[in-house]
């Protein structure tokens, strides 16, 4: 690969970005790796702590569970959304794309605080539900898993919608017609033809949402309770409260390797990328 790059006379164009990545990503990550084995003394003690103490395992599990639930939620909401966008008339399509994009341009902190306003015990949502007589006392939408998921699914939605949208736009309507012509009911045609053709978009969107969610920090910190602490919060706490660089580094390395493994497995199973079947 390097030999090929060297032969390419445009190869030097990757230099600025390459240097930036080396300086602000590869170098710190390398030091994190070293520190996880060397702080406070050389050895595996930091990893032993991560995998031996129930609290750390619990946080690791929380992280995977919240990221997984966010991914499923974003897929369930994003799929119909992307489908409507693809099949809407041009003007409506532009409007819908805009609606999905707006939250992108707003800070996550602002959006999370906005959710707090909406979800608090005497907030908009509770007032409305009590008003229509659906519930009598305010429901607890905050400082628990529900709050974290509501916030995170909303923030993650664009990452799911756009990969789906781009794959769905490229699906020729003739495939759906062909399925019907060959005798498939709308449900069968969807399950056997449309859904499998959307698979590359589902995989890409789910991977994006899951991996970004794994490292999430602000939303679980503000909308979650004590049982919803995620790994990024733990890393922040270990450094700023206890100055425990060694343990934090070990946690970060576990997160990085875990993410890499998931990526590799999905890549292998779904054959996305250059050797895709279709």
């Amino acid at each position: 690969m390097f030999a090929k790059l060297a032969r390419d006379r445009f190869a030097w164009l990757v230099l600025p970005a390459g240097i930036l990545i080396l300086a602000v990503f590869a170098y710190p990550v390398f030091w994190l790796l070293v520190r996880s084995f060397s702080d406070p003394s050389w050895g595996l003690q930091n990893y032993e702590t991560v995998f031996a103490k129930v609290i750390y395992l619990k946080v690791l599990w929380n992280t995977v569970a919240i990221a997984g639930a966010t991914t499923i939620g974003a897929l369930l909401l994003g799929f119909p959304m992307a489908y409507s966008m693809v099949h809407a008339p041009p003007l409506m399509r532009k409007l819908l794309v805009f609606v999905v994009l707006i939250p992108f341009w707003t800070s996550i902190l602002v959006r999370t605080f906005a959710w707090m306003v909406l979800l608090q015990p005497n907030g908009l949502l509770n007032d409305m539900l009590i008003g229509i007589g659906f519930i009598e006392t305010p429901a607890k939408f905050m400082f628990n898993r529900t709050g974290v998921l509501i916030g995170m699914i909303q923030i993650m939605l664009p990452f799911m919608v756009f990969p789906l949208f781009s794959v769905m736009t490229r699906i020729d309507h003739a495939y759906v017609q062909a399925a019907a012509n060959l005798g498939a009911t709308p449900v069968k045609g969807f399950l056997r033809v449309y859904l499998p053709l959307c698979l590359p978009g589902i995989v890409t969107g789910s991977m994006l949402v899951f991996i970004i969610s794994l490292g999430y920090f602000i939303t679980p910190a503000l909308l979650g309770g004590r049982k919803d602490v995620m790994i990024a919060q733990l890393i922040q706490q270990q450094i700023s409260d206890f100055g425990n660089w060694g343990l934090s580094s070990a946690l970060a390395v576990v997160l990085l390797i875990g993410t890499g493994l998931i990526f590799a497995v999905v890549h292998k199973v779904f054959k996305v990328g250059p050797d895709a079947r279709f």
């Binding site: 017609q177 062909a178 399925a179 012509n181 005798g183 709308p186 053709l197 698979l199």
Partner: protein, 360 residues
């Protein structure tokens, strides 16, 4: 014609204010090969889509096997279709694609396997079942599409410009192959194309579409020798047109007066004094030396081009300021060696070889 299997009665399709299909009435006999021929936007594909059930009809009625077709959704119509770009499911193997309609009809596994094997052998791809569509050539994909559309023995097979994506040689080869399958299997075929040559080669009958209407429907030789309108004479094959005014009409012949008086066959609906046009095929014209030629119709002109085509030559002759005529002369015709560009010649033809049509 055999008993009709599909009938269309005054079928219409309107998109907003645009009338895509207007008052289309026709019927197809069992085992017939009927082609919808017309330029793009003439309504032929829209009509096909209504038969398939992908477009609703705005008016009129359709029946299949004597039963109304309109209330049936596409998936209950039992009509096979070969799509323009084949629409083979890319995530299924060739065998998976062909098995799909059988699985939808809940046949048992052994039966499906046998039918898939048989139909793939029939289209000449017995060993390609495990490949994916992407791994096949255009011609092979075309065969798989055909196999998939036939395997469930549909009552009617629709084909929407199925050969448009293939190169000329392969297209001609597939034309013959589709005709063979049609003959051997006895399937009724409704074929859509904008290629008049393809339509002439393959069809039992052709319906010529123009601006949402059927201009004429008939056997290929019928349309070629006896076009009903100027559009048909122009769209199918090549025609020379000479404009004029009708001055006489009797015994199936009309007289047309323009630069000179000409005589040609005509239908009864031409009224004397109306504007008309004479259509005559290039191969019906005789090229003679100036002021010579024994046929009923004769015009004088100057050769502007001679195009050599191997088995024939084309003489382009300017007969007056507005009109250029093309004569096609077979290579074995002798006596024209002295005719070159700039020569004065006369073109002549028999009254029976030309047709006078209303000029619309």
């Amino acid at each position: 014609m055999a008993e009709p299997i599909l009938t269309l009665e005054a079928v219409r399709k309107v998109f907003g204010k645009f009338v895509a299909v207007d008052d289309v009435t026709l019927s197809i006999g069992r085992g017939e090969f009927l082609t919808f021929l017309g330029p793009s936007g003439s309504g032929k594909t829209t009509t096909l889509m209504m038969v398939a059930g992908f477009q609703s009809v705005s008016g009129g009625a359709m029946t299949l096997d004597g039963k109304p077709l309109d209330p049936l959704p596409a998936y209950k119509r039992d009509i096979g279709m070969v799509f323009q770009h084949y629409a083979l499911f890319p995530h299924m193997t060739v065998a998976g694609n062909v098995a799909f309609p059988l699985e939808m009809r809940k046949l048992d596994k052994a039966q499906i396997a046998k039918k898939v094997r048989d139909v793939l052998a029939l289209v000449g791809l017995p060993d390609h079942g495990e490949r994916y569509p992407k791994q096949l050539s255009g011609g092979q994909q075309q065969r798989v599409a055909l196999a998939r559309a036939m395997v469930f023995e549909p009552r009617l097979l629709l084909m929407d410009e199925p050969l448009g994506a293939l190169d000329k040689k392969l297209r001609e080869h597939m034309q013959i192959e589709i005709m063979r399958l049609h003959r051997d299997m006895g399937i009724t075929v409704l074929y859509v194309t904008h290629d008049q040559e393809e339509a002439l080669v393959m069809s039992d009958r052709i319906a010529v579409f123009n601006e949402g209407r059927i201009e004429q429907i008939g056997a290929p030789s019928d349309l070629y020798d006896n076009p009903a309108t100027r559009f048909v004479a122009d769209f199918i094959g090549e025609s020379n047109f000479i404009e004029g005014r009708v001055t006489g009409h009797n015994n199936g012949f009309a007289e047309l007066e323009g630069a000179q008086t000409l005589r040609g066959r005509a239908e009864g609906n031409l009224s004397i004094g109306s504007a008309a046009v004479m259509a005559v095929r290039p191969e019906r014209l005789h090229v003679n030396r100036a002021n010579d030629g024994a046929d009923a119709n004769r015009v004088e002109g100057t050769v502007t081009d001679i195009v050599y085509l191997g088995q024939s030559r084309k003489f382009i002759v300017r007969v007056n300021d507005q009109t250029e005529m093309t004569a096609l002369v077979q290579a074995n015709v002798v006596g024209l060696e002295s005719v070159t560009v700039g020569s004065s010649v006369s073109l002549s033809w028999r009254a029976e070889d030309s047709k006078v049509l209303g000029n619309t």
